[in-house]
């Protein structure tokens, strides 16, 4: 089975993408692959969900939940804040209803609720003008679609969209076709005829901006959009038929194969290449394809199979043992008569065996007990774990306590004592009991727990604390309300341990938390330690794990990513001072900023050691709910800049309210030398140079053009004219292409203190790009600074930072929407990265020279990665400024398909050499996390 994009479809996909009716989300796949015609609509609906970002979604007529759970999955995959409701008939069979409930509880309970009610009865649960997306699921349970629609129309918001699924399959829901006919005549509408058909109606008066191109497309454009999605739908179905074969994870989750360092590859790809947007994301590489077994289902299409249908039908009616024996005998006879087909049969049998093995996948799921049960039980003991045949989404599974725990502890070179400090205020006894159980259940024995009650009016709280009978627990009752910082500081005054662990009053430590902290302290003698964390939903399931990067100073200036668990050496805490009430709401962020300024060793434990309980309307559930916290967060960073003597502004992030980034101002007026290698590429180079001259507000730059032996007259003319200009010099170096060598020559000739290595096929977009990147590049702790590169004509990411994953260096968020937040805002905020692309890389000259410049033994690929790795090993951090945007005219379709076997071999050899030079970074990215999918460039969870 070929998974290549047919040539004729490329144009359609290109067209749909250029109309902004198709984007990275269109290439996503659902976590589950239910067998259904509806699957064919998933690529479009994924796009729709991302474009619409509905606040509320309701599906009427849910039965097995095929479409509904796909919606929920999309909400989770896309990180949307959508609340989903399914209206399922209480008249459905019990097993259907039960399955619906179990699947919802296991996978989607954080975003979804199932209502077992008639569509009319459920109406009262929804406010008028509250639903952004209404899906009429097209199941037989939807008895009267027209009546249902009319009743529900009042609940639609002014940007409300209605989807009518399966309107071409009349047996699904009589009346759907008629409904579609009527509504599409009155409202903006778009229909997809593939699969069982899908209709989209803009019912609300305010047409959502993201959907405007869809509804405003002309006939030709509509045809292209339909063709594109018909193809993507069919392809997804094809994947479904290959469901769970060994490769699909890699195929589904984005680029799994290494990106060749990128910057040095100056030659534009041939124009007739297959479209890479699909090929990169969905097509297996030749080596991957070779591993996909031949699907035996292919036999089912043969003439022989069809001809024997009546016989097979009759056989099926026989008693099973007889049936089985007859089948065996017949098969044996047929095989003996056709020995020449044995090799083929063996291949099919192997594939079948493989399929069975893979198909028998299981997943761990956690089913919490009903809320209110099991008081005093930690979250992972308040329910049951089970093995499911379906993916259950993220599930925290506690680890086994080591059998030789005592021996391990006895062997530790240090045995720190921990003081766990907990400020309480009106905390319920239930939550306190769970918190207390989580501390008392610690494997590591040397701890002290200090509660500081902030003058809770609640007798329940005070009573619980008073009644604790444990010599390791100390409780201080404040007589006046001091706020969270004040109360925590009171607890800190009573802390006597070597290290302080902060624990919020409604959260839990995992049982291995202190043990892991102790191991880490023994191993690294760290001053400050943080771990991964997750959240407990109000229903008691685990969700939203945050798998964090290792210590990233710039990330901490963008977001309070270290968060929980947070453990600091008490002597260091005494140095930096306690929590400050003026930063309440973000007091922990302020503290960690101060701690990490002084800490000599900061460690990250890539394990979930802390469960953060989601309490409705708490900061955990909605940052925006507390404006004071946002302001405190901003002020904490301003204070950090002042303390550090750095000049910069803390400015809001356009795409996400409540988030801020630091814009460092350049010190002095450094000359930026923009070093651009080129060859016979006048139009491209000219566009690059002119864009810089036009858009840049910072004027202290020079061009250093490295001419790698141009011979075309137009290019030579342009280079002459450039050489004659005041802000440019041209160096001719007509040697075989060596990107590293060219750039090193350029750096030696450059006069600036800041070097900006730039590909000639880029086009600067952000006016303040030079000062913004320069401000970062001048920071003493920064190595390379990168920018966000975007494919022209789209908002798709070409570069937003490089990941060093299992298969090698890769572009994070490749082809994802540039404005998509990404995993914990990583696509929008300044994060530290292992490497940035050399297509646009700024570095201070002194640092560049200190690491020896580019390694010229990497002429084509990985030279930028190698440079960044060397900066990293020098203790410098590489950072990406996502607010600096450039277009990168590298073809969207560039990918594995464009490599000859020789190029591939060369690339492999270069990658081997990269890791021979940096064995410590082989399959290791300190700014990724081992708990995330090892091949996904989108920070996806592996399960």
């Amino acid at each position: 089975m070929s998974l290549e994009v047919p040539r004729e479809m490329q144009a359609a996909i290109d067209a749909a993408a250029s109309l902004r009716c198709l984007g990275p989300a269109s290439f996503r796949t659902p976590s589950q692959h239910p067998k259904s015609p509806w699957l064919q609509q998933v690529p479009f609906v994924f796009w729709l969900m991302e474009a619409l970002q509905p606040r509320s979604l309701v599906e009427l007529g849910t039965r097995e939940g095929i479409s509904y759970f796909a919606f929920c999955d999309m909400v989770q995959q896309l990180g949307l804040a959508t609340t989903c409701h399914a209206i399922a008939s209480p008249a459905d069979e019990e097993n259907v209803r039960s399955r619906l409930g179990v699947l919802n509880a296991c996978r989607h309970s954080s975003v979804s609720q199932i209502l077992l009610e008639d569509a009319q009865a459920a109406l009262s649960r929804f406010q008028p003008d509250s639903i952004d997306l209404l899906h009429l699921a097209g199941q037989p349970s939807l008895r009267d679609p027209l009546q249902d629609f009319e009743a529900w129309q009042a609940k639609l918001s002014e940007r409300g969209i209605v989807l009518i699924g399966g309107f071409l399959a009349e047996e699904n829901a009589p009346g759907l076709s008629r409904l579609w006919s009527e509504l599409s005549a009155r409202h903006p509408a778009f229909a997809f005829p593939h699969g069982d058909g899908l209709g989209i109606l803009a019912i609300g008066p305010a047409l959502p901006a993201g959907l405007r191109p869809l509804f405003e497309a002309n006939a030709e454009q509509q045809a292209a959009i339909r063709a594109a999605y018909a193809h993507l739908g069919e392809r997804l179905s094809a994947h479904h038929r290959l469901d769970d074969m060994p490769t699909p994870n890699a195929m589904r989750t984005g680029l799994a194969s290494p990106t060749p360092g990128t910057a040095g590859q100056q030659t534009p790809p041939p124009s007739s290449q297959p479209l890479g947007g699909a090929s990169g994301a969905l097509s297996p590489s030749p080596s991957q394809a070779a591993r996909i077994p031949v699907r035996p289902a292919g036999l089912r299409g043969t003439a022989a199979w069809r001809a024997t249908a009546p016989l097979r039908s009759a056989l099926r009616r026989l008693p099973p043992p007889l049936h089985r024996n007859l089948r065996r005998a017949a098969r044996l006879a047929w095989w003996m008569l056709t020995p020449h087909r044995m090799p083929q049969r063996i291949a099919v049998l192997k594939a079948l065996r493989q399929e069975r093995r893979v198909a028998a996948r299981h997943f761990l799921a956690f089913q919490p007990d009903a809320p209110g049960c099991g008081i005093g039980r930690t979250a992972d003991r308040n329910g049951r774990y089970q093995l499911l045949r379906e993916p259950a989404g993220y599930t925290y599974v506690p680890p086994q306590r080591p059998h030789d725990l005592d021996r391990i502890l006895a062997g530790l070179p240090r045995r720190p004592r921990f003081s766990i400090v907990v400020p309480t205020y009106n905390t319920t006894a239930e939550l306190l009991s769970r918190l207390l159980a989580s501390v008392q259940g610690q494997w590591y024995p040397d701890w002290q727990l200090v509660f500081a009650d902030d003058a809770s009016p609640s007798e329940e709280t005070r009573g619980f604390l008073r009644d604790i009978r444990d010599s390791r627990v100390e409780t201080v009752f404040c007589t006046t309300n001091k706020g969270i910082s004040g109360a925590t500081n009171v607890a800190l005054e009573h802390a006597t341990g070597d290290y302080v662990v902060f624990l919020d009053h409604d959260d839990e430590l995992t049982e291995d938390c202190l043990y892991e902290l102790a191991l880490c302290i023994a191993r690294e003698d760290a001053d400050y330690i943080y771990s991964d964390e997750d959240k407990i939903t109000p229903e008691g399931t685990f969700t939203q794990p945050f798998f964090k990067p290792d210590w990233s100073p710039d990330t901490l200036m963008s977001t309070m990513y270290t968060c929980h668990v947070s453990c600091v050496r008490r002597s260091l805490l005494a140095e930096v001072g306690p929590l400050r009430s003026e930063y309440d709401g973000s007091q922990d962020w302020d503290l960690v900023l101060r701690i990490t300024e002084r800490a000599k060793r900061i460690a990250h434990i890539p394990k979930v050691l802390y469960h953060w309980r989601i309490i409705p309307a708490s900061v955990a559930s909605d940052l925006a709910a507390k404006p004071y916290a946002i302001d405190a967060a901003r002020r904490a960073r301003i204070a950090a800049l002042e303390r550090r003597g750095l000049v910069g502004t803390v400015e809001p992030v356009a795409q996400v309210p409540g988030y801020f980034r630091v814009n460092y101002k350049p010190q002095g007026e450094p000359l930026v030398s923009i070093i651009i290698p080129t060859k016979d590429n006048r139009p491209v180079l000219q566009r690059c140079v002119e864009a810089i001259r036009e858009v840049s507000t910072y004027r202290g730059f020079e061009f250093v053009i490295l001419d790698n032996g141009s011979s075309r007259p137009d290019t030579l003319d342009y280079l002459h004219s450039l050489a004659a200009s005041a802000d440019a010099s041209v160096i001719r170096h007509a040697a075989p292409f060596n990107y590293s060598e060219l750039n090193n020559i350029g750096a030696r000739q450059a006069k600036g203190d800041l070097l900006l290595f730039l590909n000639d096929d880029t086009e600067a977009q952000s006016a303040d790009w030079l000062e913004r990147m320069g401000g970062y590049a001048q920071l003493p702790h920064i190595g390379a600074v990168g920018a966000k590169l975007i494919y022209p004509g789209t908002r798709m990411v070409q570069h937003s930072g490089l990941l060093n994953l299992s298969g090698g260096p890769n572009h994070a968020f490749l082809r994802r929407d540039a404005d998509d937040p990404g995993y914990f805002m990583r696509n929008l905020l300044e994060y530290d990265w292992s490497a940035v692309t050399g297509a646009c890389l700024m570095v201070e000259r002194a640092k560049f020279e200190a690491v020896g410049g580019f390694d010229e033994s990497f002429p084509v690929a990985y030279n930028d990665v190698d440079l960044c790795f060397r900066l990293l090993k020098r203790g410098l951090y590489n950072v990406v400024c996502p607010s600096v945007e450039l277009l990168h005219h590298e073809s969207l379709s560039r990918g594995l398909d464009h490599e000859t076997p020789e190029q591939r071999a060369r690339l492999d050899a270069d990658r081997h050499r990269l890791y021979v030079a940096h064995p410590d970074l082989m399959m290791h990215d300190p700014f990724h996390n081992p708990n995330l999918h090892p091949s996904s460039v989108h920070f996806e969870l592996p399960a």
């Binding site: 890699a250 761990l364 774990y385 089970q386 506690p398 680890p399 890791y915 290791h924």
Partner: protein, 601 residues
């Protein structure tokens, strides 16, 4: 205990010496010994040296002819000269070979430490001490021999010089009694030969002591002098290796096999133009130590070599990823019968879910895995795959770093040296190398079986074995394989099985699996074996050099393989306490003794 018995034996002799007025010592196999299993093996050494393949036969014939002539001349003894006069035509002048034999005997004949001690005891007690020998070599030879080894000169009674022997009528004893002037009954004669030293001396009224060497190796037909030397070396250096110890096993069994195998590896590596030899843990430990000992003495015949930390488990995990996980499931579950489900994960270095989670899944500590019902275990492994894969990635990173640290670079030819048996570890290693580091891997094995799996792998990979279906009969191969655990133990290292790698900032640390059952002092045993091996190698190398013997890998290996194949190794008292050696199958539910793995022939 054997050693104590040996001490008792010699105590008896000392007592006898004290009661005698004079003491007569036989020479060969008593006061002196040759480090060979058969004295005639020396003829093979000469044959090899002079390029006469059938020299042993011809030398025997010549001696028989000399006897015939002696009897015709009615003399009592022959001489070396007469033997060489009795030879047929030789390609080399007979006198040259005769001198060579004389000189060789001088080199080969070494003091027997325990008897020299008795010899000196007798002298110190003021006894009249003499040496008596039925030998075709003359007194001058013995004078030189004693001088050479600093043994005190005493009256010599050599049959070739006296025209009288012990063996025929005991006439030599009469001469002794007469010359030293001590009555027959007050002379104690000590010798190894039942007829000449005991019966004839008894007949002459002497006191006698029948000396038997405790560790005299049996003769073996068709054995090369090199192999004979390997087995016979203990006769000369036995005092260094106490009887009944692991060190003795190292000297007598493991040392010869290890040296032979290493010789073979060196030759194969030269032939295959290997850049780097990797001795795979744990079986490669002894060999690596040998190689280092040789290198320390300045030997340069070997390419650079390293001790490769790893195992089939470590390599298989390093080869696993999300795409091929399902293919490896059978391996993960293999040999798990009788284990608690969590132990199946522990032996991979993977932390299992907490006990209460396992219990809820029906896989608690009170459950045991049944190989005929693996479904539940497979479900768990499947559900836990991302945790397993996390360990896989850590191991893959660590393996890469380890290879780099060992000095390996892409494109090199490496020999992976392992004891055996079917190439599974090599297969796992090569799978782990895919996409990690392209190396041309050659597998060198002490022994490969003739199983279908092994044959299939031999077609797909570069694999060679010193011992295999081409070198030993199928039944012996099967017997060796049946006793493989014992052999693996002998070659093993003073560390637990390496099941992974922890690539920390300071370098790679091996992740070891001590198993789940108490292995006792198993790690203290390997150094004992190694001590014996290294002592053997030191003496063997010097003796072989002095005797200019060619390598005989297979012959040397037989010292161990014969011992292992018939299961007799399991009777060694030193092994009685070895338990839970196999970490993979180790379980808190049971204890496995090493000797439980023995299969008697």
């Amino acid at each position: 205990m054997n050693d104590m018995m040996g001490s008792h034996r010699l105590a008896d002799l000392a007592h006898a010496i004290a009661g005698a007025e004079a003491v007569s010592f036989d020479v060969f196999d008593t006061l002196f010994v040759r480090p060979l299993c058969d004295p005639e093996d020396a003829f093979d050494i000469l044959g090899h040296r002079f390029g006469i393949p059938d020299f042993r036969t011809r030398r025997r014939a010549a001696q028989a002819e000399a006897f015939r002539r002696m009897q015709q001349a009615q003399r009592a003894e022959i001489t070396l000269e007469e033997i060489y006069e009795s030879f047929g035509p030789l390609p080399v002048p007979a006198a040259e070979i005769r001198q060579a034999e004389h000189d060789l005997e001088l080199v080969l004949t070494q003091p027997n430490p325990e008897m020299v001690e008795m010899f000196r005891l007798a002298l110190s007690q003021g006894k009249r001490v003499v040496i008596t020998s039925d030998m075709y070599l003359r007194q001058a030879f013995f004078d030189t021999l004693l001088r050479r080894h600093g043994v005190e000169a005493v009256p010599l009674f050599i049959s070739a010089d006296r025209n009288a022997t012990k063996r025929d009528h005991g006439a030599l004893f009469d001469i002794v009694a007469q010359e030293i002037g001590v009555p027959h009954g007050k002379i104690l004669h000590i010798g190894d030969n039942v007829l000449s030293d005991i019966r004839r001396a008894d007949e002459k009224g002497l006191q006698t002591y029948h000396y038997t060497e405790a560790r005299k190796p049996p003769r073996k037909v068709g054995e090369s002098p090199t192999a004979s030397l390997a087995r016979g070396l203990v006769r000369v250096h036995g005092r260094e290796v106490p009887q009944g110890t692991l060190e003795e096993l190292g000297f007598m069994r493991v040392g010869p096999a290890a040296v032979g195998f290493l010789d073979w590896v060196i030759e194969e590596a030269r032939r295959d133009r290997i850049d780097h030899v990797l001795f795979v843990s744990r079986d490669g430990y002894v060999l690596q130590q040998l190689a280092e000992a040789r290198a320390a003495r300045g030997a340069t015949e070997m390419p650079p070599s390293s001790y490769l930390l790893g195992s089939r488990v470590a390599f298989t995990l390093a080869a696993m990823d999300e795409r091929n996980f399902a293919e490896h499931l059978p391996f993960l579950a293999a040999g798990s019968h009788g284990l608690a489900p969590a132990e199946v994960l522990e032996r991979l270095g993977v932390t299992p879910p907490a006990a209460h989670v396992m219990a809820q899944l029906g896989l608690g500590a009170d459950e045991t895995v049944r190989e005929d019902r693996p479904a539940k275990l497979l479900e768990l492994l499947n559900a836990w795959r991302w945790e397993i894969l996390k360990v896989s990635r850590r191991n893959r990173r660590g393996l890469f770093r380890h290879l780099i640290d060992l000095g390996l670079r892409p494109g090199q030819r490496v020999a992976m040296v392992d004891i055996g048996w079917n190439g599974t570890t090599q297969q796992a290693f090569e799978a782990a190398l895919q996409g990690l580091m392209p190396l041309e891997t050659h597998g060198y094995y002490l022994c490969l079986t003739d199983s279908a799996d092994c044959q299939r792998r031999r077609k797909a990979m570069r694999m060679k074995a010193l011992v295999g279906s081409g070198t030993v009969p199928p039944e012996q191969l099967a017997a060796i394989y049946a006793n493989r655990v014992g052999i693996e133990f002998f070659f093993s290292a003073p560390h637990h099985a390496v099941i992974g790698y922890d690539p920390g900032p300071e370098g790679v640390a091996p992740v070891e699996d001590p198993g789940r059952a108490d292995p006792g002092d198993i790690l203290g045993m390997s150094p004992q074996v190694l001590r014996g091996v290294l002592a053997f190698e030191r003496h063997f190398a010097s003796a072989r050099q002095e005797l200019a013997l060619p390598p005989d890998p297979l012959g040397c290996a037989a010292a161990l393989l014969d011992f292992a194949a018939d299961g007799s190794w399991a009777r060694e008292s030193a092994l009685a306490e070895v338990r839970n050696f196999d970490a993979w199958g180790s379980s808190r539910n049971r204890t496995m003794r090493l000797t439980d793995y023995a299969t008697q022939a």
